[in-house]
């Protein structure tokens, strides 16, 4: 097996390296991971981090990869430069994949390397001597060694230790600082540093997970009510918002189940709040009846489905794009909705306010599809990319504004009959009064109803009225296609093939295309789909009709997006690259797939994940 390499294809990229930390859950991988990520980002380096972990709290195997560069990093990459092995298991699993020029750092007293590949530098550390009495500081040593080999000044680490350990007191900070210094000096004296040094750029970057980005985006959008039931990998949104809720006047409720969650969200949204939740496929399954109610009541709600590998409980800590049809078919009956699949952490942030504006204006549910890869995955974001004061458009709403005068207001007194909540307007959008406004009393009914909210489902069933209301709700969406940005072809138009994907595969496709061009001189372009409903059928069709070969890349078994594309456009793709082992695509998986497909070897390429996590 030839080991894949990270290839620097961007001219502005001078460094591109990846650090991995592996051990058992509970060994404290998160802390050194966070320290490294913050140090890189503060220097202005871009990074992308992916943590492969298992559904247990102690033990098992956890493998965190942090890839950094002075140019944007869109995925975990193909190769590692440094591996910190915190236990023997990590060493045994991954030493074999380390490429020439890489280094492996470990505690010489506890871990033994077997069958070291040629060209790999072993960096055994006398941890016991270096940490002295502070046995908790072994990871601090490892971080110091990594930084030394990357040419990063020790001061950066001292700052980070101060931030992380200050809560535990000056003594702990000082002890860690001393230990870091010893580790740093030990590395300088005993190990070869890399041939490059990590630069320091002028502008520091922020480090966010997609779940944090979702929480941040929700706060920027004006979410006042967030309810959820904990479910991996979506729980990070709940935790982020809960942490900031009281200070920012946001109500957070942890509910008894996801059925309760979505019904509570609908209740709060009906009251007039921007209300939201996030879950994963299993929770979304429980929510779907109430999502349909949001469609019927024309009460806007936003829900994120952070996909994990299904079905049923599936693989709770692994990624997949397997919920597309679940989202498309959520709830019984026909009702309008938005479905959007952002491509990155920053995109999640900026899309949430946009989705709220759309759902408020069109009075229907807005569903966001992300996945474990980008929602739990960490990336740097340029603060200027994030719009914290987005335009807020609530559409046609009627709030109590203190101007309601019983004497001269046509809806004053108790003449509520004048107001039709579900007025059959030309646009299909009916002005929405929130409860508490005099003169606008109405019933919002999940049964089919007349313009004034009267139930027509039972005694008053009337086929003409039913048809009118179905068409009214559907008509709302006629203009929605113009409200969402059409997809654009990324790359040259006369490529030999077009990679088509949705959501989180954008970043890995971008890099695979760069690699194909720079290494193999194969020119491929990409059509990335973000807005799934409404779907830009005309734009997509026109782009794909001139494609030489359509290859659909997606993280599921059955080709859910391929089927959706075909159902909407009639276009049948030429070939497919799919992965459904729980782990995300790495760039070389796509590269290998494109080459196999172009070489006529197969129409369906399923890469094998080399890293055993």
């Amino acid at each position: 097996m030839t080991k894949p390499q990270n290839v620097s294809v961007d001219n502005k990229r001078t460094v591109d390296f990846a650090v991995a930390i592996g051990g058992a859950a509970g060994q404290g991988i998160a802390t050194p991971g966070n320290i490294l990520a913050r140090i890189f980002a503060r220097r202005g380096l871009h990074l992308n981090a992916y943590n492969a972990y298992q559904s247990l709290i102690r033990g098992g195997h956890t493998f965190l990869t942090i890839r950094a560069s002075d140019a944007p990093v869109l995925n975990m990459g193909d190769a590692l430069d440094v591996m910190v092995a915190l236990n023997q298991d990590t060493m045994d699993r991954h030493l074999g994949i380390m490429p020439v020029g890489s280094s492996v750092i470990y505690d010489e007293a506890k871990i033994t390397p077997n069958d070291t590949p040629d060209g790999v530098q072993l960096c055994p550390l006398p941890i016991k001597e270096l940490v002295g009495r502070n046995k908790l500081a072994a990871n601090t040593v490892a971080v110091a060694v990594v930084l030394n080999m990357l040419g990063i000044e020790l001061d950066d680490l001292a700052d980070a230790l101060e931030r992380i350990f200050s809560r535990k007191g000056a003594e702990v900070v000082e002890s860690n600082r001393e230990i870091a210094e010893r580790g740093y000096e030990y590395a300088a004296a005993n190990f070869d540093a890399f041939t490059f040094a990590a630069p320091r750029l002028s502008k520091g970057l922020a480090v966010v997970t997609g779940n944090e980005a979702a929480g941040m985006g929700a706060l920027a959008a004006g979410v006042k009510f967030y309810a959820a039931y904990p479910m991996s990998p979506s729980t990070g949104v709940l935790m982020y918002i809960a942490q900031h809720a009281r200070k920012l006047g946001v109500m957070v409720r942890q509910v008894e189940d996801e059925i309760g969650v979505m019904n509570m969200v609908v209740g709060a949204a009906h009251a007039g709040c921007r209300a939201m939740t996030a879950t994963s496929g299993g929770g979304f399954a429980l929510m779907t009846e109430a999502v349909g109610m949001s469609g019927m009541l024309e009460t806007p709600v936003v829900c994120i489905d952070v996909q994990r590998a299904g079905p049923a409980t599936g693989v709770p800590t692994k990624t997949e794009q397997g919920d597309l049809w679940q989202i498309l078919g959520a709830g019984q009956g026909d009702y309008p909705k938005f479905v959007v699949a952002p491509r990155s952490q920053a995109d999640i942030f900026n899309t949430i306010p946009e989705l709220f504006n759309l759902t408020d204006c069109y009075q229907c549910p807005g569903l966001m599809l992300t996945d474990l890869l980008i929602s739990e995955g960490t990336a740097t974001v340029d603060p200027d990319e994030l719009d914290w004061q987005p335009n807020i458009n609530r559409g046609e709403m009627i709030f109590p504004n203190g101007d309601v005068n019983a004497n001269d207001n046509p809806y004053g007194g108790y003449n509520d009959d004048a107001y039709l909540r579900y007025e059959n307007t030309e646009s299909g959008i009916s002005p929405r009064a929130v409860p508490g406004v005099p003169g606008h009393i109405h019933v919002a009914a999940s049964d089919e109803h007349d313009e004034d909210g009267t139930l027509i489902s039972d005694e008053f069933t009337n086929p003409h009225k039913r048809r009118m209301m179905v068409e009214k709700r559907a008509r709302k969406m006629e203009t929605s296609i113009d409200a969402v940005e059409p997809p654009q072809l990324i790359g040259v138009s006369d490529a030999v093939a077009t990679l088509v994907g949705f959501g989180s595969t954008w970043g890995v496709n971008v890099e695979a295309i760069e690699k194909l061009e720079s290494v193999d001189e194969i020119i491929v372009n990409q059509l990335h789909i973000k807005w799934i409903v409404p779907f830009h059928v005309d734009v997509v069709t026109s782009i794909l009709e001139s494609s030489n070969k359509i290859i659909i890349v997606e993280n599921n078994y059955s080709g859910q997006f391929a089927r959706y594309l075909r159902s909407e456009t009639g276009i049948k793709a030429d070939a497919f690259i799919r992965k459904y082992d729980g782990e995300p695509f790495m760039p070389h998986h796509i590269v290998d797939g494109v080459k196999a497909i172009l070489g006529g070897e197969t129409e369906l390429y399923v890469p094998t994940h080399e890293i055993m996590v």
């Binding site: 980002a41 959008a221 019904n263 007039g272 209300a275 003169g439």
Partner: protein
Amino acid sequence: MTITATPISKQFTGNQVVSLDTIPLSNVEVTRDSFKGKIDPDWCPGCGDFGVLTAMQKALSELGKQPHQVITISGIGCSSNLPGFINTYGMHTLHGRALAVATGMKMANHEMTVMVTGGDGDGFGIGGNHLMHTMRRNVDLTYVVMDNQIYGLTTGQTSPTSRLGHQTKSTPEGNIENPINPVPLAMVGGATFVARAFSGQQAHLVDILKQAINHTGFSIVDVFSPCVTYNKDNTYKWFKSRVRKLEDENHDPTDFHAALDKGYEWGEEIPIGVFWKREDLPALHQLEPVLDEGGPLAYRNLGLSKEQSDQLMSEMM
């Protein structure tokens, strides 16, 4: 007639607190008729739910509530059609989910009086999980269960409160499952106002509903509301000969154990009235610091100040 909606940016300026109390009221005097809905009930003639609807309208008007300050939220079932028959804001939600929707509503606008209506199947069957958690949270809702011990809208199947031996379309040989007794269930579940009433005793029902609405916290009133079409066992006559008012026998509704004993009494005599209440526990909205000031969440300004967003951003740097 067209309605021009005002964009929110024009409605809320500065830090103005919008509250139900600041909205000018109509000069029209509130009477029972103020709560009369747009359409007449479509229940079977003689249905117990008529009495409950009338009692709710009386209770709300006698308490001086303004119709626009009240919202009635129901699930699905015969009795859950009630929001259409009463002139308050209303939501007709999903089967079993009224309490969850109502909790979201109450927390988003804690100044509204939130009534929840439904049947025994809706509340104690499919909605059982939400009932348990709404009670322990002590959400300030008034939950009126029209308990007819049968699934009426689906034409007569057994319900969680159907008595042992009850012959229904789904238990033609008689029900073999023990029924739920809502009174002790609610007491043990943490409801802070627990009452039972009978649709056939109007004045008593109105009085209990007024107490329940005035109670700050979760109040539940289990109302015997006979299904004249599908329940031939538990009829008006059956209840009339059995119900006995707790108010007539010096029951102390602050004595938990006595109330629990009374709650379990079921036979030739069935007690109705206020079994249990406690005023010392704050309701959920009173415990939520976010609601301490600024009026209902639903009416507040959206978005973050530059200062707030800079702080959030700095945490990520």
